[in-house]
């Protein structure tokens, strides 16, 4: 009988530091919600967190909660509850899983962090539609439930070049939300604190970039699957000093690995770029599947989405407007393709995998001929996997496995 290879995944020691960071983050939020000591703002993952920090809000990001619903595999049973109240199974399964969890009054936070029952109650909800329109609907739902204000930035989509008019418009929208945020926070907007938050965010972004760039080493000290959990601090902690300190430790460990030529997987033979979201409920399964094939999925569009190199504390509003519009997800296919081509070169990639996530067209870049165009231009083969970020009813494990194995066989034939 053919033996299935048993794979042991390697862990980074500093992931513990980042885990501790996340725990402290959730406890601080929980405490604030229970005591009312600090105001809480809910924010979209690439929303204007720095403004909120300048006003003294603790910032909670529902998307991270949704990712936890996915990775804990709670999401699939909760999504139907949101479907039943009118949120289609075809829309964002972050949204449907999160609303489903709210309706069912369950949360992975309660399982992971003793004493926390669930997400902290918001005082205000702040979105940016730069990633998708779903976030607005998602936040509006909670605005009604919690009877708190919802404010947002309405961003552009399919941006070819980020121009001054884009920047001016977004910057204006950011400034326009300040009076309401001042009212909710009970504090005056402090420009110096704002600049400080932007500076810390920029630092966090630079550190996170260093983390991800380390994967260009051969063998790579990092996998995409590591990245999806390590990035938690860049999402929820940008604009704080603690997040930056945690990343410094991680970078030191990655540098050690590079110096010792220690790969994140044993025997790295193939290097893969992942475009699209992870399948949260299958992180470990996929990590093992690839490692078992001596393949490292080492870079991704997704993890790189929390790099905001345009942030500049000397020009905080405009640079934020630019940074949050320059993002991959906001852009037209031309700049997206150029970006991916640069990544393929930089990370010395053998193949690219597109995850076509059924409920997130915004992060599924394979639907308008991009794989075919890029393959023609670069000669780097590609594979598209059909699945989803959170809804495991849309994932066929056997199909994915066969597709991945066959793709690696195809790469082998080229070596």
């Amino acid at each position: 009988m053919p033996e299935e290879k048993k794979v042991q995944l390697k862990r980074l020691n500093s992931s513990k530091v980042l885990g501790k960071f996340m725990a402290e983050y959730y406890y601080e939020l929980d405490n604030a919600a229970k005591t009312g000591e600090k105001k809480i703002a809910w924010c979209t993952s690439v929303g204007p967190a720095e403004i909120l920090r300048a006003l003294g809000f603790l910032v909670y990001f529902p998307e991270t909660h949704s990712a936890m619903l996915g990775s804990s595999r709670m999401a699939t049973d909760l999504i139907p509850k949101a479907n039943a109240v009118g949120y289609s199974p075809d829309i964002c399964s972050y949204l449907t899983a999160d609303i489903g969890a709210y309706l069912a009054k369950v949360s992975p936070l309660a399982t992971i962090f003793k004493g926390i029952e669930g997400p902290p109650k918001p005082d205000v909800l702040v979105f940016n539609t730069n990633q998708c329109r779903d976030v607005q609907d998602w936040f509006n739902f909670y605005g009604e439930e919690y009877k708190v204000p919802v404010v947002g930035i309405h961003s552009y989509v399919g941006v070819q070049d980020v121009t001054e008019s884009h920047v001016a418009s977004i910057s204006k929208q950011m400034k326009a939300m300040i009076p309401l945020l001042e009212e909710v926070s009970g504090k005056k907007f402090d420009e110096d604190k704002f600049k400080e938050a932007v500076a810390l965010s920029r630092e966090c972004s630079d550190l996170w970039k260093d983390v991800l760039d380390s994967a260009s080493a051969k063998p790579s000290p990092l996998t995409f699957f590591d990245g999806t959990t390590l990035m938690g601090a860049a999402v929820v902690g940008r604009g704080t000093k603690k997040a930056n300190d945690a990343y410094r430790e991680l970078i030191a460990e990655l540098k050690d690995r590079i110096a010792n030529k220690e790969g994140a997987i044993e025997n790295e033979r193939f290097r893969i770029y992942w475009d699209g979201m992870p399948v949260w409920g299958r992180l470990s399964m996929h990590a093992k599947l690839f490692a078992g094939l001596d393949t490292n999925v080492l870079a991704s569009t997704y993890c790189n989405s929390w790099i905001f190199s345009a942030l500049d504390p000397d020009d905080p509003f405009d640079s934020m407007a630019r940074a949050y519009t320059e993002l991959f997800i906001v852009r037209a296919d031309d700049p997206k393709e150029k970006y991916i081509k640069d990544m393929l070169n930089f990370f010395k990639v053998d193949g690219i995998i597109y995850h076509d996530a059924k409920t997130c067209p915004n992060n599924s870049n394979c639907r308008y001929g991009m794989p075919q165009r890029l393959e023609k231009e670069t000669g780097i083969p590609s594979l598209t996997l059909n699945g989803d970020l959170n809804d495991l009813r849309l994932v066929s494990d056997e199909q994915m496995k066969t597709n991945v194995e066959a793709f690696i066989e195809q790469l082998e034939e080229r070596k």
């Binding site: 009988m1 053919p2 299935e4 083969p381 066959a406 034939e413």
Partner: protein, 273 residues
Amino acid sequence: MTMGKTDMSERPRTESSIFVGTDVGSSRTKVAVVNPDKELIGYSIEKSGTDFTATADACLATALRMAGTNQSNIKAAVSTGYGRNNVTCADSTKTEIGCHAKGCFYYFPQAITVIDIGGQDNKIIKLDDHGHRTGFKMNRKCAAGTGAFLEEMALRLDIPIDDLNDLAPKSTEMVKLGSFCTVFSATEVLENIRNGKRVEDIVKGIYFSVVKRIMEMDSFTEVVVMTGGVTANNPYIVTLTEELIGRSILVPEHPQLTGALGAALFALENNCS
């Protein structure tokens, strides 16, 4: 339609070194036995059932009998397909994509596009003139365009699945089914029956739907090969695909066996390397 053939006439009676490929599909299990000269000397096809290991063993026994040899002569064995990890005699596995590619290139050594229509999945595999894969696609998650779709439709029409192939060519006015979804297609079939449409015309529409699903998956290169259980049992589907793509299609002698044959050829290669 052109058939690729294996010549089994001149082979010696007993083979002392044999190589086995087993393809455990969701619907059928196939075993191919080849000798060191890459000749197909025995094969067997059976329903996979629920006990993959037992079916694979039984299939192997039949194929070995046909080859006039026995298990002790197996030098290497590779398994593939959905149940590839349940095959007792196999020492390694390969994906069905790789095995179908190998099996087809054996029959047709040129740049080809392989369309394989199986019980629960479809594959399109593109090979260059060295037999190397340049790309492949599998059907997404559902049964549209697979053997399972045909089975469901035969059930709705209340006719044995084996009758579909002879009915379709008698169609004079094909009924087009609009839906992707097997269940919705079944409803459309019922509606057409209610509206008095002829069974032949509905059956042609069913085949048409399968071919459309396949053609949506990928573009085809010049030379197209069709394989798989659906192709083997429904030669009409080849005729219809030829009509739709406007050129002749190659079909190997044993269209259902290409995966198992490819696996056997991999076993032979592994043994020599």
